[in-house]
Assembly symmetry: C2
Homo-oligomer: 288 residues x 2
């Protein structure tokens, strides 16, 4: 059997981990070409065994079965546009961006008939980034969402899905719009909310006393406020509709709480806190 | 030396832990009377050695050096009002409520001249509650805030502070208004924010897909939404001014983010995320 030819563009945490996971599971059944603008990332990816071949040249993207674009989300569209001329008919192109509709719309007009695009989003990450943080087990038991694409057929979806399952990921299909809306509620809005809580502390008089009042609750609630600012700015910009709608709805919820406190409406406050507790406890139970 | 006479009213997590910590550190140097409406909590407190004597009768509160009121925050004022007639001149009364100004205002008019009140708030807690969750090490290395009181002198503050230091707590003085404002920002508003994030998910179409998009970020950001709904309703009601002001300020911050997304103002979004990251990372560093 001929080895599947795979290219990974962008050898950061996700791209590097994908290479490590695929080589670890499939060995010589896959031949992976790594492409990155950064020569030291390329060298380390090769040295760690995440890729078989390295290249800084888009000509290396010819005759691939699958091309993964693993760059920051706002660059994916530009990268796709740049590499399309080098790709060969029959190649499946996919990405790992945190938002899906934005890219789908960018690609709809430029994707040539012979090429197929399938959107992807692994629900996996770490607080560290870069090839040095890459881990062959990053995807084990994590959901990996594939969303609808352009010029795809069920066989191509199947090929990509089976390859990804080799990493240990649980691959599922989800509509791009539903993905983006759900991700806004489960991830993107929580990041804004957490960063907002930290920014609320700016210019408070006694920072020393604030530190003394800091407990585990504050630390956990704001943990994701320590995430990468570039990445989250781009996510906001590429999922703007879902985020704006969700944040406005969230504002209404907070507005209601303010009203209940102003009216000393204990029943309303109790319902607010108890319904959240019940829902969250249920979610964790269902997940377990 | 005569043993210090201490009474603890309310033998839940905090009252029970206080008894365990004091008996553990001071042994027969303290004689602790436990008072609770619940006879099984009383029995367990005695059996676990958190108290020396148990009583369901307020007459047991005569001739105490220090009386700790460890009931839920909204009940503290009522309990104080009820026990004042039984207390003996010279007794120091303190509490462990999460908010301080509300109680201070309730007590100002009713505290007899011979009695002293000093507000207290240990920055310690667990997700479990009740005497069964009590732990002699609950206060070790935790801040324990004492706020200004009524009819107190420096010697009385010193007596209470030294006693509390025996639990391993780091005792500090903080103005009640500053405490309440800081606690709103560091704890009370984060609880509202977390519960609001969970409530935002109500009535979403596919709960199954939401679960698939749930990552560690969502779980951490909303962890405190699983807290006790009664306690947090009461905290909102007893710290209303600081919470209303803080939540309105927070609404303005979110409003600005919505505006930046609408305008696709990447520079503004980047500043929002990066300033939060920088501030949070600094806080954790200063604390360490």
């Amino acid at each position: 059997m001929k080895a599947a030819r795979i290219a990974i563009i962008g050898l950061g945490l996700i791209g590097g981990s994908l290479g490590l996971a695929l080589k670890n599971a499939l060995g010589s059944k896959v031949k992976i070409t790594g492409v990155d603008r950064c020569s030291s990332s390329l060298a380390e990816a090769k040295q760690r065994g995440a890729v078989d071949i390295i290249s800084a040249d888009d000509h290396a993207l010819a005759n691939q079965d699958i091309v993964f674009v693993c760059t920051p989300v706002l660059q994916i569209g530009l990268v796709m546009q740049q590499i399309l001329p080098y790709l060969t008919a029959g190649t499946i192109i996919t990405d790992v961006g945190s938002t899906k509709l934005f890219l789908l719309e960018q690609l709809r007009d430029i994707m040539p008939a012979g090429l197929s695009y399938i959107g992807g989003h692994p629900m996996a990450g770490r607080e560290k980034s870069g090839i040095t943080a890459a881990d062959k087990n990053l995807f084990v038991n994590k959901w990996y969402i594939l969303s609808q694409g352009i010029h795809t057929n069920p066989e191509q979806y199947q090929v990509l899905s089976e390859l990804l399952q080799a990493t240990g990921a649980k691959v599922i299909a989800m509509n791009a719009a539903e993905h983006d809306c759900g991700a806004a509620y489960m991830s993107h809005i929580p990041h804004v909310v957490a960063a907002g809580l930290v920014n609320l502390l700016h210019n408070r008089s006694s920072q020393e006393n604030l530190l003394r009042l800091m407990g585990g609750g504050f630390k956990d609630t704001t943990r994701i406020a320590s995430s990468d600012a570039d990445m989250w700015s781009d996510i906001c910009l590429t999922n703007s509709t879902a985020m704006i709608n969700g944040l406005k709805e969230y504002q209404n919820i907070l507005e209601e709480v303010v009203g209940a406190i102003e009216r000393a409406d204990r029943a309303r406050l109790y319902t607010f806190f108890s319904s959240a507790k019940e829902k969250r406890d249920n979610m964790l139970e269902q997940e377990a």
